[in-house]
């Protein structure tokens, strides 16, 4: 299983029936492909849709039914649409039960940087700051290491997305949970040792006596 698939599958196991879930672009989007059987969730697209379904078959799209990137989507029965003020009221007001966001860095208190690299491309924060600040639960989907450097750092060197800590980071190596300003290694990827994770992690991790393998 490649890294992205592993991360998406593991995060999909966080879904519970009835949840309103917002998926960011990149790896987070893949989570929708692995919703466990018997789990029914609502996917929100922040451009104004709840009940987002899969990408339409060729020739069956409509130009006014799109995701946050402007790409065609479908809507499931029971879907609803709304304006951007309501969309972000749902997000900021804590009505979104879980958001899955990409990450550039997460520090050991759980603070996330995911929206810009100074001096490089500045795409704009879009909805990321509102999602990271307002969603009931924030899960970060990212590779553990980029260009040889840990993305789970002692302190973010990149501009923060929010000062509200994330709840969970899932990488191709580990699941790390954040609470009360501390990072705890809670699961290992299949076949990955605690030592390998520690070595790939700049942040200080609390390592419990027993660190189970991810169930995917």
């Amino acid at each position: 299983m490649d890294a992205q698939t592993l991360i998406a599958r593991r995060i999909a196991r966080e879904l519970r029936t009835g949840m309103l879930v917002n998926l960011g672009i990149g790896i987070p989007t893949l989570v929708a492909n692995y919703v466990p059987a018997n789990i029914d969730v609502f996917f929100q697209s922040e451009n104004g849709l709840i009940g987002t379904g899969p990408i339409p078959e060729a020739g069956m799209a409509h130009p006014t039914l799109t995701d946050a990137g402007g790409r065609p989507v479908t809507a499931l029965p029971g879907a609803c649409t709304f304006d951007s003020a309501i969309s972000f009221g749902l997000i900021r007001g804590g009505h979104v039960d879980m958001t899955v966001l990409g990450g550039l860095q997460v520090d050991q208190r759980g603070l996330l940087a995911n929206w810009m690299i100074p001096g490089k491309m500045v795409p704009g924060m879009g909805g990321a700051m509102d999602l990271a600040t307002g969603a009931k639960r924030v899960v970060v989907a990212m590779q553990h290491v980029a260009k040889g450097k840990s993305k789970i750092v002692k302190q973010c060197s990149l501009p923060l997305t929010s000062v509200r800590p994330v709840d969970l980071v899932v990488t191709e190596l580990a699941v790390i949970a954040f609470s009360e300003g501390r990072a705890t290694l809670s699961e290992r990827a299949p076949g990955i040792s605690i030592e390998e994770i520690s070595e790939a992690t700049e942040a200080e991790l609390i390592i419990p006596q027993r660190v189970p393998e991810m169930i995917l």
Binding site: N47, G48, F82, S84, A85, G126, G134
Partner: protein, 215 residues
């Protein structure tokens, strides 16, 4: 309200105008009004909108034609031309978190003095802004945004100016229609008065100043 030709509607917009534009990545932006602005070559515009779309669609056409001096938006990541003009110093981009941006526009249209949002606290977004403590939590005071013209794209309009929107093409449209001195709306279909059920009207007719004819 008799719909007017798009050229006539756009002729009212002066160079240097502040435009509030509906749409999200080009979906729900009034393309014909945008095309006409390009044709008439309105200059030094300020555009307030969610994003600058992708090249060839919606607001991106205004960027490509170098008509925009200032863009107040939440996202420019899908439009490399915006980035180039920004780096070249010919375009000023003010990046605003999306939820803050839409609330600032709403505050402008709803007669509020601003928005108190937790979004951006402790980040670069808070620079130069007042922080207000409410019950022990910090919020940023974000100020209202208003425009000279709102450019709105509806699905249905009736002949007195009631508007309804289609699916994700709704997005910023109902909010910008509240926040501008003059509202110019285009619609996929213009229908007789009474054909849009009162509960399905999203933008009330008195807000709409000009309806663009479908030629």
């Amino acid at each position: 309200m008799k719909p007017i030709p798009v050229a006539e509607a756009v002729a009212m917009i002066p160079d240097g105008a502040v435009l509030l534009v509906g749409g999200f990545m080009g979906v729900g932006t009034p393309e014909r009004i945008v095309d006409e602005i390009v044709r008439q070559g309105k200059h030094e515009l300020t555009v307030i909108a969610n994003d600058t779309a992708k090249p060839g669609t919606g607001i991106a056409k205004l960027i490509s034609a170098k008509l925009v001096r200032t863009a107040i938006v939440s996202h420019i990541g899908l439009n490399p031309e915006t980035q180039q003009q920004m780096h070249a110093g010919v375009l000023t981009v003010e990046l605003v978190p999306q939820g803050t941006l839409i609330e600032r526009i709403r505050a402008g249209g709803f007669g509020l003095g601003g928005v108190l949002t937790p979004t951006g606290v402790g980040t670069v977004v808070e620079e130069g802004k007042r922080k207000i403590d409410v019950d022990g939590q910090d919020f940023l005071l974000e100020t209202p945004l208003k425009g000279d013209f709102a450019l709105v794209h509806a699905f249905l309009a009736d002949y007195i100016g009631n508007l309804s929107y289609a699916l994700t093409a709704r997005n910023f449209n109902p909010l910008v229609a509240m926040a501008a001195a003059t509202v110019i709306a285009g619609a996929e279909h213009i229908v007789p008065v009474g054909l849009i059920a009162p509960d399905h009207v999203v933008t009330p007719a008195p807000l709409v100043d000009y309806l663009v004819a479908n030629e």
